[in-house]
Amino acid sequence: MNEASPAQLVPYVTGGAFVLAFIFGAVGNKTNFCTMGAVSDWVNMGDTSRMRMWLLAIAVALLGSSALEAAGLIDLSKSIYPGPSFTWLSYLVGGFLFGVGMTLGSGCGSKTLIRVGAGNLKSLIVYVFLGIAAYMTLRGLFGAFRVGVLERAAITFPHGQDLPALFGLNRLVLASILGAAIIAWVYSSKAFRSSFDYTLGGVVTGLVVAGGWYVSGVIGHVAEDPNTLQEAFVATNTGRMESFSFVSPMAYTLEYLMFWTDKSRIVTYGIASALGVIAGSAAYALATRSFRWEGFRDAEDTANHVAGGVLMGFGGITALGCTIGQAITGFSTLALGSIVTFAAIVAGSAATMKYQYWRAG
């Protein structure tokens, strides 16, 4: 329990998020960690190495997060993912559309940030449209549809929607079995074992997510905020314990820039993490002389990226997260919605690739 005031903790929380995100950005750039690329390699070539890297990240995050909880350091039920409302239609529609969007937009939210850091101006445009669409889904036009239509389709699980609560199982035991099974499958591939980059990308991403829980759930946790007399997680946009997710932070980054003179606004955990990924990727690109400016090829390429950004913004907010936010961070809580969203994202991406192949001249 922190004795410091919430304001004193803000730099530690945002600094911790930035450092972890910086590492993720640099390693993601080096190892070509890409969830859309994982689907593409699998669907278009039958190669599962990058899918295994993604699953390794999930397994490491799951084991790390469960260990932190078992040690009494964090309480995963205090994040947004395992709540009682299982908004199944939102997970399915949001996840599917996010998958379509990340295929049109040359990568998911985190890959967009990595590409921006490496000089890709297309991804900068994706960032802007993703951020605007995400904000419209949080509080604007798309939000009315999200809340009024999609979120009405919900099932309530009184004890929470995470698998341990649903099936009355011990979290650490379940996480250990599931994590070990995933890791065993991941390393059963000779192609995966042949390149250390796959292990590096998966392990570092998983550790960054687990570390993210520690930053928000331990360093940023205030048992009783003297201003509200309630429990608080400092510098979060959700007011709950957070780890890495990149859709809403991209919206909040734009909001922060637009309301810069409003001194009540601060750099949050999410904003720091988005900036950290860009900085980490840029540092790696500059250090290895791989930084290069990239622009649009033609009008169709532009339209695809704009549409991709909008779909990812809407889908990511609707499904409560992206390929990192739901599929790794949310998955590490064993929330059923995170697992459903993960499947819907992969389905949306794969379906879009089939369409693109059919349409290719």
Binding site: N32, C34, M36, G37, S40, D41, N44, M45, G46, D47, S49, T103, S106, G107, N120, K122, S290, R292, E294, G295, F296, R297, D298, D301, M353, Q356, Y357, A360, G361
Partner: protein
């Protein structure tokens, strides 16, 4: 190097260079060569993996002036 068909994938990012190459190869005869020009840095690894997975031989690849040129033989 002689080639039978050329694919301009400049300015395209993953997964489009691979998808278009796959489509182009499907329309070619066994033994014919496809030349691909791309600008996405990820395309080098992508085409190496594509060759290994599909059996279409990557005859050569070269980088010059921020462009990557691949010659791939249809299996």
């Amino acid at each position: 190097m002689n080639f039978d068909k050329e694919l301009d994938a400049r300015g395209l990012n993953c997964p489009l260079p691979i998808l278009r190459a796959k489509k182009a190869l499907n329309d070619m005869q066994s033994g014919q060569v496809l030349k691909i020009v791309a600008t996405d840095p990820g395309s080098i690894k992508d085409f190496q993996t594509f060759s290994r997975q599909t059996g279409n031989e990557l005859l050569s690849h070269a980088a010059a002036q921020k462009e990557f040129t691949f010659f791939m033989k249809r299996k």
